[in-house]
């Protein structure tokens, strides 16, 4: 039987054509996502392993925050890139991690206590610290050893009453072949504080 002999042929072909057009339109939508920049960077372009989540960053200036288990609830200070807490601190996960502190706009000193992970990899873990795009300095963290690092935090690095601290972790290591970079390991955060610049601790 020829298709033209089938009285349903034209409606069926018409419906198929409509579906084909609809599916083609969805392919166009697929190729043109309309998403926020942080969504694109993490999920699509994969240019970051740290997808910042909304946090209040509630913090009292001058307080030392203990990030080990048993310490205070630090969820509101950790936008992304952390796992824990554990007994030896908050473990950085991926190639960067973020901290956020609601602070007054003035010159401050950032103090971090960091421990390097004891995994096969580089002799030391470099930690590049920046805030709102302004480079604050670099820490070299030794595996298995906890060290204290201080960084000057100028007032211009504080935006909208918040110090958004970015820790870039270029030496982070994977624990198994082919593992995703979102699971990379590098350092553990033991303590952090922000103090007015005049009362900065030892470097």
């Amino acid at each position: 039987m020829r298709w033209s002999d089938n009285p349903w042929a034209i409606p069926l072909y018409g419906l198929a054509a409509a579906l084909a057009l609809g599916e083609l339109a969805v392919v166009w939508l697929m190729l043109n996502p309309n998403v926020p920049p942080d969504y694109r960077a993490y999920y699509i372009d994969k240019t970051t392993t740290c997808l910042a989540q909304p946090v209040t960053a509630a913090y009292t200036l001058g307080t030392s925050i203990d990030f080990r288990s048993g310490g205070p609830d630090t969820r509101e200070l950790l936008p992304c890139g952390w796992e824990g807490p554990t007994g030896d601190g908050m473990h950085a996960l991926g190639e960067s991690a973020r901290l956020a502190f609601a602070v007054p706009t003035e010159n401050l000193t950032l103090t971090l206590e960091l421990t390097g992970v004891t995994l096969p990899g580089p002799r030391q873990q470099a930690v590049m610290v920046s805030a709102n795009g302004i480079n604050l300095g670099k820490a070299m963290v030794t595996p298995g050893k906890t060290s204290r690092f201080t960084f000057p935090l100028p007032a211009r690095a504080i935006a909208n009453g918040r110090a958004d601290i970015l820790l870039d972790l270029p030496d982070a290591v994977t624990t198994s072949p082919g593992q995703s970079n979102v699971r990379k390991r590098s350092i553990k955060l033991v303590m952090a504080s922000l103090t007015p610049a005049t009362t900065a601790g030892a470097r």
Binding site: M1, R2, W3, N6, W8, A9, L12, Y13, L15, A16, L19, A20, G22, E23, A25, V26, L29, M30, P33, N34, V35, P36, Y39, Y42, Y43, I44, K46, L51, Q53, P54, V55, R75, C80, P177, G178, Q179, S180, V182, R183
Partner: protein, 412 residues
Amino acid sequence: MAIFEKSSAENLLAATATPVPVEGAIALPAAGPFDISGSRTLAYILLLPLFFLLTGLLLRFLAFRTAMPDADLTQYFDELCRWDCSWYVKMAETGYDRFPVPGRINAGNWAFFPSFPMLVGGVHALLPFPTIVTASLVSLVTTYAAVLAAWPLLGRDRFAYALYAAFMLSGPVSFYFTSFFTEPLYVLMTTLVFAQLARSRYLSAGVAAAILSATRIVGVFASLAIGLQALLDYRRNAGTWRGAIPALLGNPQLVLALFIAPLGLFAYMAFLYFWMGDALAFSHVQRAWARTIANPLTYLWQGFGNRPDAGWAPSSSQILAMAAASGLVLTGVLAWRRQWPAALFCLLAILIPLAAGLASMLRFMTALTPLTITLMTLLARRRWLFWLSLAAILLGAYTTTLAWFGGNVALV
């Protein structure tokens, strides 16, 4: 002998009692494999799965009492609901996440396909039970229906049918099919696709495939199975490949079926775009689970090489690798029996998830209907093997459910 044991031509002969009319060079059987003669056969088909449904409930409940002797009886359904099940419960109650995810995590629930949670959510709106109880009831009914629908694919072999019913409803991993995972609907729709293809009913196969593609991403490969079956049907009827494409395009039902089959996936993609701006969110969000695409054989090799720290029992990775390898072997059996559409569907439904790692491979393999049906037909060939398999299946329901309660990650 089962449908998946025969060539396409034999399938049609088994499925049809009257001559095959030909329309547009495509064979359309006049009588179907669901034609059942005799009330005793009908009673067997309907009551046997019901019996195994009850034994399954009993065996899983015994495992629950053994694992948690002090737990309240009403906790049974809650305790069976583990891993992805919790995601589905939340989805049935609150739908899809927006971005950023309200729970402030990277893992949005866009990874999970909508059809089964939607079905449960709809039924939940009508019944006064908690979501997980409703979901378990819907799963039981859906799996029962899937077993009934598999009767023609099992070649009306009572022994193979008994094993299949026992495996699905009272088997070692029956908790996948009776709590809240997408597997019940996935199995039912896969069964309907291939039952319809066995009769060269492309349009109804396409409708089942559309639901399948909204149930799990790999369901979309049923579209390819439909196209391949149409090609093979043409070759069988015409005796040549020449003129195949014009003849197939001249069949409006087939053309429509091919565009209907992936409709579930396309509809979900359109929804995701309008919901959050990314039609591929279900794929992109896999990054949050640290999934990386690699050679499936590499993952298999790594899985087999991941030995247990101590003892003789295989590691979780080895169990998952064995599940995937068994799936590939059974796919080879399908190909050897010239069941090309089913073999193609199974091959893609194994390799695509395997390219992202071994996670959940045991669950994926046990829900690949052509494979489980093929396995049951093999086990039903000898009477002693049948009884041994039945005993292992029923015993496995108890022991594996205990392992499920124990958090064995090979079962995730």
